[in-house]
Symmetry: C2
Subunit: 320 residues, 2 copies
Amino acid sequence: MIKIIVLNKMLKPEHRQKIEDTAKGLGAEVFFTEEEKDIPEDLAEAEIMYGYGLDTARTNKNLKWLCIPYAGCDALMKPDSFANKDCILTNSSGAYGVTIAEHMIAVSLMMMRNLTDVYEESLGGIWGPQRPQRSLKDSRITVLGTGDIGTSFAKRVKAFEPASVTGISRSGINTDPVYDKVLKTEDLDSVLPCTDLLAMSLPGTPETRNILSKDRIARLPEGSFVVNVGRGSAIDEDALADALESGHLAGAALDVFGTEPLPGSSRLWKTKNLLITPHVAGNLTLEHTLNKNVDMFCNNLKNYMEGKPLTNLVDRTKGY
Amino acid sequence: MIKIIVLNKMLKPEHRQKIEDTAKGLGAEVFFTEEEKDIPEDLAEAEIMYGYGLDTARTNKNLKWLCIPYAGCDALMKPDSFANKDCILTNSSGAYGVTIAEHMIAVSLMMMRNLTDVYEESLGGIWGPQRPQRSLKDSRITVLGTGDIGTSFAKRVKAFEPASVTGISRSGINTDPVYDKVLKTEDLDSVLPCTDLLAMSLPGTPETRNILSKDRIARLPEGSFVVNVGRGSAIDEDALADALESGHLAGAALDVFGTEPLPGSSRLWKTKNLLITPHVAGNLTLEHTLNKNVDMFCNNLKNYMEGKPLTNLVDRTKGY
């Protein structure tokens, strides 16, 4: 009997039930655990894991399919990440678009409307003054990374009547009518000077490392905004902090960082007009995300057991 | 020559120019001031004022048209508000939908995603934990007041894929396809128990006073949210605070209050899960709002001078 390890501390009884029922119907057996160290010895060679099991991937030679409940899988791209080099890797891209897009809209508006300062004052019982406000309306928005997350953001931000929504992707292929146009990564330099809000939702790959370099930050117009929810490695953090301190950028909202948790000693904590969130834009605390995550795994489990092609396959040559 | 007083400290040179050019083309003369007390004596009987001139309205018997640059005009509904009882009153409803809707989306997401706590921690350099998150997706949203502001909000929130967007208005007439349905104020009691987010954008009138009473707050489901951007008089603030403290409501975001500025001694400053903003959801600091405001006045000035009907007429029997 095929054995499945499910490693996830956020699951509720109904999720366990759904996974168990699906597996049983397909002739597989499920073992639930919240910690990798609690996996019993007789399951050390399980064929399938649904969970972020980095140790299992590295040690279980019999693992044929690892489904991670997250979208980002850069931590599994090292040469020794898998004991079984042929192990299939799928991610849960598609479950996070809704929640991360809501985060992106929230932090964009918080910055543009100076709600951070307003909130800080309200904590002290201060009825503050009117402050300058900016608007998503008529803003030129560039979405760097047009996957599920970027496109979910684009669909929401479109309702705010921006001047334009331009996508940037590796292929430059426009996959959704929400974009006014989609350009290739090579065109980024020419798009940046016409960008009021740069929304970054890129996977962490060698290609995306430092993609928002010091030079490119300088290409953004005076008074523009940056939001990053992909991977911290995509930004030259020090150059970003300089551009915020100098006032070249009006604001930035980072949910991801080169080092996480962001060290207490980092200058970013004290950087002007920088909104820091502790990698919470997308996680399994949102019911919708967790439900969709489990649904996607169960559908793929059916595919796997029936010998059909899996969805959400990670292309290891690309890293996402 | 018809004399126009423009009372507005937010105007930029291009706005003054536009108003001046429009007036000159129509054979009228404009005087700009930032304070009512600075109006020279020979203009004390000007025929037109564009500004929030409560003193002028009360004293200038020759005032034939007052255009206020705001949407709310409850302060002009007193018996002695106008020296000339036949003075036409117009407001600038229509200029505020964009900015106030952005505020409403921002504070809704801040509450639902616990970004207030996250931000507070970030101020102290703390990389906080994951927190429970709620979503606009699949939420049942009730928009109380389906004017320009409520409908601008409805159009934006619709992109977040809510379960439903129900409008409530005096007439119950559905004026925009964004609403799944629009019901009359009489139906409010039956809609509240099916509301996850109540968005209030009502004018201040005798009818709307205390419309969200203690009884109605109790009708909202456990864990629901309230946003108010209309007038503070619409809510029983004490009952709201109780419902927040008890946990019956998951959160509320108030931009307007029974007394403004909100006194330092108010219990609201310390009420759990209450996000206070100092009446900044809509103001003239946003370029779009100010531009549209001036455009609307100039269009109406043309109407006035040409003897055509004015738009944005305030119906004094309704109070908006």
